[in-house]
Subunit: 424 residues, 2 copies
């Protein structure tokens, strides 16, 4: 039965034990940088992913968890609660990485979940509800699109049969083939038969805000809506020396004017709006030739879908005006459009009050990136805990979160899970 | 002896004969476009170039010219004059093309020279001075840098030994090896022992001005000065979703602001100034990543070197300001810097008055592109004759100059050469 009051309130994770697990898992698929950085290339369903999975499962078994593997390869380790009828409180994340990934993205959330379990074990604390720690298949989407694949299937957002047929961008293998090959084509049905009572995920921020403001904990209120558009601007290739400025139809100039306008729009819309042009490709890309064609992408994000829609409409109008003035044509393709996700108010408040009880500074913030939690939020009350990323770096072998910040985040996870799992 | 008066003034080239030679030479190295366009890929010192050279030399020999091949592969066919001591009047251009070249660029100037000779032969006209028709090696620079290589060596601007060691960008062969291989490593010393009395080159405009203004003949006053700068802008790669706008150091934005500023500067400086950003490369070029680095090139041209220098200084200052404001660093590399070339006032007037006497509309204009004539202008009075390019297209398989315009240009060449060769 649940230990309560003073003793439980004083409970803390073992930061060293957690750090050691992060180091150990980080050695699998490790890539070394020029300055001794230790990154990870553990792409979904590769041999390295299998080795990482095997290690985490061995830790789950060591902790006495009931381990299930479902049809899309999601792995869940469950510690029983005192009420055999109660739905589990769930935490977790993913252990796959991008090709130039770090040791913390995803891995932290899974290993902090195990550390919470071990802390409870060590102190003989039982909870009313089971506590489950999961890692979801192919969160990064670096090898199989879309990203967050495992958690999407877990909540019933995509049929498992469809998911198993998805083909890898690198070697053309399917999800199903690769799951079978690495021994993670599980027998547990997917979507999950039991819906979690609640879900909370600890993750690195992957941005610079917490570090910049000197804040320990980000209380994640939801995930920004995302709008990706690819523009193909076609003009008239021309000789850089012989073509007067007034007779040009230069898609490079049009692209530049659009990039400048996107920045201006984001600043005008204020703090909640970001706008990024990450891809820009000139054709034929020669020093003395006005380009014939330029491809660029627009990435707009906002937590407020009405504002995001307004940003899309305004920028669309600006692009049209720029193209008309330059005499170039504009092709548009929507690459992705996700509505913002709002996390559960009660779970947000719980994370916030837990941080305060632990004496940790916190701020509410949306997530700019996608996470498994946004899929789980479709089926149960969900929130996330962010910890600072040094220099805001992520998807980068130099990715780092300081040990003290990791320990703080894991303690917020511990007490958030404990509070949720000990109440009916 | 020279024929003068009415008969000479009425002399005209045979436009059909000239067109047939253009067609015949255009079949060598021919590339076909999707809409039946007939372009040329006859890169310098390739097998196709050899075949083209062989054909033109056979025509020179058919016309009874004295043909010399010099140490850098320049070929000159000379029709003797009545004064054995007089320096020749020279015309010509090049027959190498870029990989996606047309049938007119360069070829027109060489074949129009032959047509002038044949017209004189046909009418039994002798001139006081010899008339020489040359084609210079590797004008395009598409296979061996720098461009205008043959004419540069011809006028003593580069030692032939150095030129022979230049390595091809495609297969690593040297100029010397390739000249020997195709049988054009000639014995005539280079630079040329005899400096021409004057040089005039007929060429397509390669720009849209003549067509746009409905003018038949461009009287070329010189060649624009060229300034090429490569900028490497280094910022901070960052997540497009998690990095607030105010915390970005985005080299893509900086590049866009520079491209916009270059356009504004060119418009502010007025008609003589052009500014082009032809290359722009984002790294890592991913939709959801603020780029870490962007490379771009600036191509500035003006016929007035003082104004060109002012444009360079102003744009340099703007680049520095943009970089400082965005918190990115700027690396600069000068790729090329050529001062403007001014052609000879007397030769310019002669081309202009010749066009007028033939009843052809003309306008003075600088050349935005480099030509062999600018090398020859180092050693003798020089000018050029431009004819319209349909749609301003050049270095393009759809390159076209109408037959009537070609004939008009060849007649201006005929009478310009005749006037120069018949006066002491």
């Amino acid at each position: 039965m649940a230990q309560t009051g003073r003793a439980a309130a004083d409970l803390r994770v073992d930061g060293s034990r957690l750090w050691e697990r992060i180091e150990a898992l980080g050695e699998i698929g490790q890539v070394l940088g020029p300055n001794g950085e230790r990154g990870c290339a553990r792409l979904a369903l590769t041999d390295a992913d299998r080795d990482g999975r095997d290690l985490v499962v061995s830790w789950m078994l060591d902790l006495g968890l009931q381990v299930t593997v479902d049809a899309i390869g999601n792995v869940v380790g469950t510690r029983p609660g005192s009420d055999p009828q109660a739905a589990p409180v769930m935490t977790g994340s993913h252990i796959d990485t991008v090709r130039t990934g770090g040791r913390f993205d995803g891995n932290l959330g899974v290993l902090a979940g195990l550390e919470v379990i071990e802390t409870l074990e060590q102190h003989g604390i039982t909870t009313l509800r089971p506590i489950a720690v999961g890692f979801f298949t192919d969160e990064e989407g670096a090898r199989f699109a879309p990203d967050m694949l495992g958690s999407l299937v877990y909540v019933g957002g995509l049929a498992v049969e469809e998911a198993l047929d998805i083909v890898a961008v690198d070697d053309g293998a399917t999800v199903g083939e690769e799951l079978a090959r690495i021994g993670y084509a599980g027998s547990t049905p997917c979507p999950a038969a039991v819906v979690p009572h609640a879900f909370v995920e600890l993750h690195i921020e992957q941005g610079p805000v917490l570090e910049d403001e000197g804040i320990a904990i980000g209380v994640v209120t939801g995930v920004q809506g995302i709008s990706w558009t690819e523009l193909t601007i076609v003009g008239q290739s021309a000789h850089a020396g012989t073509t007067p400025m007034g007779m040009r139809h230069d898609p490079g100039y049009a692209a530049a004017a659009i990039i400048v306008a996107a920045r201006e729009l984001a600043l005008r819309f204020g703090a909640g709006q970001v706008a990024t042009v990450g891809r820009c490709e000139f054709t034929p890309d020669l020093v003395n030739v006005v380009p014939s064609e330029v491809l660029l992408t627009l990435d707009l994000r906002n937590s407020d879908d009405a504002v995001l829609q307004r940003a899309e409409v305004e920028l669309r109008g600006i692009c049209n005006d720029v193209a008309a003035a330059e005499g170039v044509t504009l092709g548009r393709r929507t690459l992705a459009r996700f509505e913002p996700v709002e996390f559960d108010a009660g779970m947000i408040e719980l994370v916030e009050s837990t941080a305060a009880q632990l004496g940790l500074s916190s701020r509410r913030m949306p997530s700019g990136a996608g996470h498994d939690a946004q899929m789980l939020s479709r089926v149960c009350p969900t929130s996330m805990i962010f910890v600072p990323s040094v220099g805001g770096l992520s998807h980068n072998i130099a990715e780092l979160t300081e040990r003290a910040d990791i320990e703080a985040g894991a303690n917020v996870l511990l007490h958030t899970l404990l509070a949720t799992a000990t109440t009916p």
